[in-house]
């Protein structure tokens, strides 16, 4: 299979300039390969992945389960160094985790011993700036519409509310890159649809770059400006195309159906479409 980074002509610019405060990161992934050293021998998970993400761009990484997309996110977040290749954020090499790149995982992973407010305050507290910037916690909570739940503990929240708290905990750090690892994967379908729209409006209001890993074709097409399709493990980039639709998008739009057919074809699943 040929891994081809399709050269694209950008039909609409990533909306970065007019956003409040935050400027999105430019992420440059160049020739990244990664393998896990298991007892049975090395297991390659990423194979020569190159990807250039513009500041403020919303990019979805689409691929079959377990193909290595999430590993790529861990490398971008700086939680692990890549075996080969380089990842740069605004020209600087990524070597360790940094609050300018925040990850939201599939599980909300809220700290059960902290109230909602204290969970959102985590990043500010970790960097020792909480006493100065308490108001940012309140702002983040109201942005996700959970102000009145500030004093509750995570076990009292529904799945969707917990994931919204996780989002608030991420954006309170004013990241320039938001890394989303199937953040809506475990939500029921109605909550999921609502949260997709919320994600888009949050991204439009702030201006960070978004890398979204998903295995849901509709989700990728509804949210992202650009969709990168991965192959089976070891993951290679199979295709990279624009979703040339303005926001707010309509789920029933015929162009979306066309693109879905295209994407499913790339994943080898277009027989039923």
């Amino acid at each position: 299979m040929v891994s081809a980074v399709i050269e694209r002509k950008r039909e609409h610019e990533a909306p970065a300039a007019d956003k409040a405060g935050v400027v999105g990161s430019h992420i440059d992934i160049r020739g990244v390969s990664h393998r896990f050293d298991l007892k049975e021998g090395p297991l390659p998970v990423l194979d020569d992945v190159s990807l250039d993400v513009k500041p403020g761009e919303f990019v979805a990484l689409l691929g079959p389960s377990g193909c290595g997309k999430s590993t790529l996110l861990r490398l971008v977040a700086g939680l692990e160094p890549p075996s080969d290749g380089s990842i740069r954020q605004d020209g600087r090499s990524i070597t360790r985790p940094d609050p300018s790149r925040i990850v939201v995982f599939q599980d909300p992973t809220l700290f059960p011993w902290r109230t909602v407010w204290d969970n959102v305050a985590l990043g500010l507290q970790a960097r020792g700036v909480l006493s100065r910037e308490r108001s940012r916690v309140d702002e983040a909570l109201s942005l996700v519409g959970l102000s009145e739940f500030a004093k509750t503990h995570p076990h009292q929240l529904s799945g969707g509310m917990a994931q919204r708290v996780a989002l608030a905990r991420a954006i309170v750090n004013e990241p320039s890159l938001l890394v989303l690892d199937e953040p809506l994967g475990k939500l029921d379908s109605l909550t999921r649809l609502a949260m997709q729209s919320e994600l888009v409006s949050m991204w439009q209001r702030t201006g960070f770059t978004v890398l979204l890993v998903t295995h849901d074709v509709e989700e990728a097409l509804f949210l992202a400006q650009r969709v990168v399709v991965f192959s089976e493990r070891p993951a290679k980039i199979k295709a990279d195309f624009e979703v040339d639709l303005p926001y707010p998008r309509h789920r029933g739009s015929p162009r979306l159906a066309e693109l879905r057919h295209h994407a499913l074809g790339l994943l080898g699943l277009d027989a039923t479409w």
Partner: protein
Amino acid sequence: MSSATLTSTGVVPPGAEAAAPAAVAAPAEETRRARTSAGNPGVWWSGAIAALIWIAVGAVTRFIPNASIGFTEWNLTAEFGTGTALVGGLLLALAVIGPRLGAVAPVRGSGPWLIALAALTAVWQLLTAKYAVLPAPFFAPPQALVEVYLDDYARLADSFWNSLKLLAHGFFLGAAIGFLTGVGMGWSRVVGYWVHPLVRFIGPIPPTALLPLAFFFSPSSYAAAVFLIALATGFPVAVLTWSGVASVNRNYYDVARTMGASEWFLVLRVAIPAALPQVFVGLFMGLGGAFSVLVVAEMMGVKSGLGWYLTWAQGWASYTNMYAALIIMALLCSGLITLLFGVRDRVLSWQKGTLKW
């Protein structure tokens, strides 16, 4: 049948007539029930039955003569009989009048227990003082315990206080060392490498087996007693803290690290709070361990304490004194466990469905 035919001749149709009295009766029934449950709550029946049994205990104590075997003579028998009968009388008054004053609600649920306690006291009285089925000096009737409390309260209070002090010293020292050891083992690879085998090797030894060593190495006999209790507490606390820290969800660390958390933040704000439920299990086990070595720890080197009192009373076969001290010891241990549960409920209030003691 005949009444139905009679009324059917009237203006009111029979069906409606039959329904009417029922409709009138229903509200009356309702108000009566409401009065019983709120305005006039009636008698607290289980309390009243308990009261009658307590009065019976008084009568049994007072009027059945004590069995006389050898030199054994139980003092305070008449006083105990009068006392229990008086308690029964007061309880009866409470059971009858209390509900009207709304004074029964907090104790209402314990009625069956009051009955059981009264019955047990009666059996105890009959088996010991009255018929000597359980003979002296190995068994003593309740009035003998009352006598011990009246005669020896100063020494018992002193012993209580000293045991509490010793337990507190040993428990806090052991819990602190065990906690730090556990966190170190769970967090640091180096500490784990060196300390884990030691804990595995020394930990399971019953602390009392180390008694001679403890006395040899400790600067004072009190320090040796503290050391034993600390050892009994420290091992379970260390092991459970370690397992708690080691089993913290890895994603918690990833989340905190991506947000710029330092190593110290990860230990103090992530690992330890996440491990706290396990730490408390260790603290409960440690407290139990501390109780179980208290008697041995106080056997040597101290001159006052409940464990010391037990040994001392057994030394001159005064089992009555021993029972009296045992009851105080039970209250002390139970009180401390209750206290620890209180602390746990406060600290871990974020957990759902915690067990109530």
